[in-house]
């Protein structure tokens, strides 16, 4: 059983906005094993991207990490000096983002942007970096790599730019690749190409992937382990088959039923009523209580803990509290 590459322990990240303090990441704990693909799934505003940015320590103001630990190979990243953290970024922990159209610097050539991490972390010379960059462009499946090396981002399509982002992330063969909704902005046929590419990379380099998405289809296809987040908290966590066959938390069940699925059409879609609560006014209760069908007395008064149940299946819900250890 490969040991844990990353361990989130009670991570807290708050945003101090004009209208009050938003607990974007509220006491989040889970871990990512080497060579494993973990999917963090949830709707907008649930804190999945902030969790990733906290791992990279790139939380922009007015956000601030206020508590907890993030262990990487046993070392707490939050305690590292900025210089030490910078050494890891792009080298051992790499990240790709959602919108390929704006993630590349429009006035620098593609080659320059791929070579940058190589020159910083691997100290390669200009020539060596150029050669390695062209290899990387070919690796991610883009033809005429030499020509692409000298071209500018606006000359490439969305799919090709996302491949370049992956090439940049892989340049220093990282231990962990964080992908924040990498295919949301792409057309479905291009998305299929990118997901295939990421699966090949995982097989070839045994890179652990932390995939952030709101699309359950992508989760089913890519994930080994799944974490479901809602309003800043982890409400369920389980291996992918366990989660899809036997979802415990009402919200996860709702999500699975609400999504229309090709060739098993329902008459009427199940809907989760209401909408995500206002992040500033969250009290000491289960945040899903006002939208939950099984809402009980206790759900409105006390917040459930994330307890572990059968074969590594965790859930934070009073329905299961009695059996939980």
């Amino acid at each position: 059983m490969s040991n844990n590459l990353i361990e989130f322990r009670n991570l807290r990240t708050n945003f101090y906005t004009g209208s009050g303090v938003v607990k974007a990441v509220n006491d989040v704990s889970f871990s990512i094993r080497e060579g494993e693909t973990l999917c963090v799934v949830g709707e907008s505003g649930c804190g999945k991207s902030v969790t990733a940015m906290s791992l990279m320590r790139l939380v922009a103001t007015p956000g601030k990490i206020v508590g907890g630990e993030i262990l990487y190979k046993g070392e707490d990243l939050l305690k590292l000096k900025e210089r030490e953290m910078r050494y890891l970024r792009g080298n051992e922990i790499a990240m790709i983002f959602q919108d390929p159209m704006s993630s590349l610097n429009p006035v620098l050539t593609i080659g320059h942007q791929i070579a940058e991490p190589l020159r910083i972390h691997k100290k390669l010379s200009k020539q060596e970096a150029k050669k390695k960059s062209i290899e990387l462009i070919e690796l991610v499946g883009i033809p005429r790599a030499a020509k692409i090396y000298d071209s500018y981002p606006h000359e490439l399509s969305g799919g090709m730019r996302q491949r370049i982002m992956i090439a940049i992330a892989l340049s220093c063969d990282p231990k962990l690749l964080i992908a924040d909704e990498p295919t949301t902005a792409l057309d479905v046929t291009i998305q299929a190409q990118i997901l295939d590419l990421m699966r090949d990379i995982k097989k070839e380099f045994n890179t652990a992937i932390m995939m952030i998405t709101h699309d359950l289809g992508v989760v089913a296809e890519m994930a080994d382990h799944v974490v479901v987040m809602y309003a800043g908290k982890v409400i369920e966590e389980a291996p992918v088959h366990e989660l899809f066959n036997n979802p415990k938390h009402p919200y996860t069940q709702g999500l699975l039923k609400a999504k229309p699925v090709i060739s098993n059409r329902q008459d009427r879609l199940y809907t989760i009523p209401g909408q995500v609560p206002n992040p500033v006014e969250l009290g000491e209760n289960c945040y899903f209580n006002d939208r939950c069908e099984h809402c009980m007395e206790i759900c409105v008064q006390k917040q459930p803990d994330l307890n572990i149940y059968d074969n590594k299946h965790k859930a934070a819900c009073w329905l299961y509290e009695k059996e939980g250890k």
């Binding site: 790139l58 792009g90 983002f97 704006s102 993630s103 610097n105 006035v107 940058e116 910083i120 500018y152």
Partner: protein, 318 residues
């Protein structure tokens, strides 16, 4: 690119014609002219002079004479300086360019540094002070700043000469002369820089603030790039590109001569010559100078757009 240039040049022509019509109609409203205001010459001589220079013909006719000469590069005769307008302009303009160039260089260097730092240290005390000073400089009337500079720096402190280009009557040559010139340039250049730096700093601060929030800056940081490189390579390069267009607009300012500052510091530039020409109602010189300035402005706009096309890879001017 060639087609773009042709199209823009073709567009310049109607604009310049329009400008010349407006200027000429304004001038035809000027009741007096050099000859009338000069009492020393007799009436017949005045009529004769006016005839030679075609001042007695109706306005529309005069416009076409003037315009046709202008196309041939002859902007008419300056009564006051008793020499062709073009020579007058050529004689004084380089003095203006001297202080304008220096102040432009200083303005840009200061504006880039202050603008970038106040954007990076957003909402800090440093940023607050800078914004206050920048707004102050933008709100000062140019002559008042000049007067204050002379009063407190030149007169009370005596750190710099009060005005003029050289110490009157000095026969210094070579390095001594250059040093004397530089000393005289201190105040005008400082005032011009102070007047110019406000707007540009605000421009760099706003555009840097916008760029720092872009996704590709986040990507650069995620690649482990040093913060200083992120700011000065990734961000600043994106801010400099639109700034190039501002360089185009500096062209007219470079040659127009800072009228007020030159008047206050008694600097023999084209701006000051323009003001004096006004008192003498030196008709053709005023007209020639204004047309020259308008031409520079239009050329500046063209230069700005062309520079933008050359520098920004996204805008390959097809």
């Amino acid at each position: 690119m060639k087609q773009f240039l042709i199209r823009r040049i073709l567009q310049m022509i109607p604009t310049l014609i329009g400008v010349s019509i407006i200027l000429f109609s304004v001038f035809s409203m000027v009741p007096g002219n050099f000859i009338d205001s000069n009492q020393t010459i007799s009436a017949e001589r005045a009529a004769e002079l006016k005839h030679i220079h075609g001042l007695d013909k109706p306005a529309t006719e005069r416009y076409f004479i003037w315009a046709s000469n202008a196309l041939k590069g002859d902007f008419g005769y300056s009564f006051q300086h008793k020499v062709d307008v073009t020579t007058v302009i050529d004689r004084y303009i380089w003095n203006s360019v001297l202080i304008a160039a220096f102040s432009m260089i200083f303005t840009w260097i200061i504006a880039i540094f202050i603008g970038v730092f106040s954007a990076v240290k957003k909402y800090s005390l440093y940023d607050g002070i800078i914004t206050f000073i920048v707004f102050g400089l933008m709100s000062l009337p140019s002559f008042f700043l000049g007067l204050l500079a002379i009063k407190f720096i030149a007169v009370d402190m005596g750190w710099a000469p009060v005005g003029g280009m050289y110490t009157t009557g000095s026969s210094a040559t070579g390095f001594a002369k250059v040093f004397d010139l530089l000393e005289h340039m201190i105040l005008p250049v400082t005032v011009l820089t102070a007047l110019g730096v406000g707007g540009l700093t605000r421009y760099f601060r706003t555009s840097m603030l916008d760029i720092i929030n872009q996704d590709y800056i986040r990507t650069a940081r995620a690649k482990g790039v040093k913060e200083s490189t992120v700011i000065f390579k990734h961000a600043l390069r994106n801010a400099l590109i639109p700034a190039i267009t501002l360089l185009g607009f500096e062209l007219p300012a470079l040659f127009s001569g800072a009228m007020i500052t030159e008047k206050i510091f008694n600097w023999p530039g084209i701006g000051r010559v323009y003001l004096d020409a006004l008192n003498y109602r030196d008709y053709f010189l005023l007209m020639g100078y204004l047309m020259f300035l308008s031409f520079l402005t239009v050329l500046g706009n063209l230069l700005a757009d062309t520079l933008y096309g050359l520098v920004d890879p996204r805008v390959r001017l097809k």
